[in-house]
Amino acid sequence: MPEMTYLEAIRSALQYEMRQDERVFIIGEDIGVYGGAFGATFGMLEEFGPERIRETPISEAGIMGAATGAALVGMRPVAELMFMDFVLLALDQLANQAGKARFMFGGKATVPLVVRMPGGSGSGAAAQHSQSLESILMHFPGIKVVNPSTAYDAKGLLLSAIRDPNPVVFVEHKLLYKTKGEVPEEEYTIPIGLADIKREGRDITVVANNIMVKKTLAVAEELAEEGIEVEVVDLRTMRPLDVGTITSSVKKTGRLLVVHEACQTGGWAGEIMAIVSAHDAFNYLDAPMRRLAGADVPIPYNRLLERAAVPQEEDIAREIRAIMSNKY
């Protein structure tokens, strides 16, 4: 199996699907010759031409609405927003239009679109280019939200997202783009709505998404040497949530830590905890559920401050040790 980067896996999925489904086209800013701000569509203009690699003015609402309108009329657009932060400019089109059209029209419309957006901090891009907004996007009925943590998951989930008859927000993480993994050349899909246990463990369940999965896995290796066996649940899909995998894992370990980069207040960790609290899994908890989230602060520019604003490996390790020793 060839090794490719997360970014190459995304491109591979886009190419595959555009070759076999002519309804699929990409729409976004600087996606042609430039290849997209992070290079996801690099080289695709030559193969697919400017009609299907549709470069736009800097008009995020326009891009999102164009994708929505085209999807309503039978196309399968994949929109690219240069940074996740810009989804706020396009949110009416995404949440009020794409997400609600099917329901408002009594189930008679379908909106098969994907909107890709890189989120997350760590690149020194500061407050308006580093956010993790999946908690906001998960809130809207009618929209699905996925966020792969590996190259393999990225390709499989993107193919599923493009084929899904609903609006799918596809969140990428900037710091994952260069991470490598084995990715099959051929077609395969990963179902939307299925979490993945990236590591089994008996002592504590850590539920995480995108880059936090990677960090937690590193921490889990370290803690295993101390005799703490961490079970790492990679949500992969934020909406719809895979409740069964989360609650089964909590029932098994009796302890839960939720880790995300998104700001803590109103963050999705609260959702996970609420689900567990209301579920039979609650009766298996042997310690309070804890969360480790981004600080309630805009992402700072300074490297040290930026690092301190979101959970790092040492924070995850400290929090797990605290839960395991009942010291919080």
Binding site: G62, G65, L72, M75, Q93, F105
Partner: protein
């Protein structure tokens, strides 16, 4: 007195010639009058049902603006796409929607156009390429542009009718969408239904330079103004605009100037405009004017006109009966239709 009669006669002659030049047959003219009555009856009935406590939500009535809907409806193909604003009952009716299903939706019934999930503000019939009314002012601009993009990529011969009010043209997406539509020469006909008020705000209070349509110049889109209370004039302008768009020349922009009689929505107490102003616009009522013109030109009899009005009345009454006898949605189906 003599002078006045002379002028009137000349106008009547002009009307006759105009109608003839546009190729409008007697039956079509009667149909146009009937449809205008039908819209007016629908809006009146909606108001009455609300007064009778039978309507759950709010609504935005378009009485006074029927000529725009009917003039446009006659100029387009059945399978052209329609992206509408929230004062949209008239456009749907004019484009051939089933008033029974509309009324059922209006009363929130399971067999309404949107199974009672959308209501007055979100009536759509996607199968008939009616992509729905929009509750977000300006929300439809990018959708119309996107639908145009799809049609262009699919190399279909349909066009997209993007209908919006004066108020929405101050939204950012208006500019984004006009720019992109012009840039890519998309088959979108932008129709600004200027009824003078965005809720309570007079266009003159909120738009720096009028007419609104001249904004299309910024994007190189051809535009035209039309008296939105003159159904024949509207038809004339729309005909040309539709031809332009369908021929692949890119978007076109029409501003139809008209007036709404009812308040913005049910909470409106008409504090921002005078009774005199409303009365003056009623003098220019599109239905009254059209009927009078037809009469003067001997294109219709008093009796036929009354019959058309009565017929519209009957259709609306039976629509209410249909809607009232329709089932409510089952609460157990609440979560349906969120995802495909």
């Amino acid at each position: 007195m003599k002078e006045e009669q002379k002028t009137e006669k000349k106008e009547n002659a002009d009307f006759f010639k105009k109608v003839e030049a546009l190729g409008l047959k007697q039956a079509q003219l009667e149909e146009m009058l009937y449809t205008m009555y039908l819209i007016r009856r629908f809006e009146r009935m909606a108001d009455q049902l609300y007064a009778a406590g039978k309507v759950h939500g709010t609504m935005h009535l378009s009485a006074g603006q029927e000529a725009v809907a009917v003039g446009l409806g006659l100029a387009v193909q059945d399978d052209d796409y329609l992206v509408n604003h929230h004062r949209g009952h008239g456009h749907f009716i004019a484009k051939g929607a089933d008033v029974n299903l509309m009324m059922a939706e209006f009363l929130g019934k399971e067999n309404g156009y949107c199974r009672g999930r959308g209501g007055s503000m979100h009536i759509a019939d996607v199968e008939a390429n009616n992509l729905g009314a929009n509750g977000i002012v300006g929300g439809g601009f990018p959708l119309a542009m996107g639908a145009g993009l799809a049609v262009q990529m699919q190399k279909a011969d349909q066009i997209v009718l993007g209908i919006f009010g004066d108020g929405s043209t101050n939204e950012g997406v208006f500019h984004e969408s006009l720019n992109m539509a012009a840039l890519w020469k998309l088959p979108v006909l932008f129709i600004c239904e200027n009824n003078k008020y965005g809720m309570s705000m007079d266009v003159e209070q909120v738009i720096a330079k009028l007419p609104i349509a001249q904004r299309a110049d910024a994007y190189g889109i051809p535009w035209e103004l039309v008296d939105g209370n003159d159904v024949v004039a509207v038809f004339d302008v729309m005909n040309k605009a539709v031809a332009h768009v369908r021929a692949g020349n890119g978007p076109y922009f029409v501003e139809a100037q008209t007036y709404r009689y009812f308040g913005h929505s049910k909470s409106d107490r008409n504090l921002y405009r005078s009774q005199e102003e409303i009365a003056a616009w009623r003098e220019k009522d599109p239905i009254f004017r059209f009927r009078a013109a037809l009469r003067e030109a001997n294109l219709i009899t008093e009796e036929t006109a009354d019959e058309l009005n009565e017929k519209a009345n009957g259709v609306i009454e039976s629509a209410v009966e249909f809607a009232e006898n329709s089932p409510e949605p089952n609460v157990n189906t609440l979560m349906e239709y969120v995802y495909a």
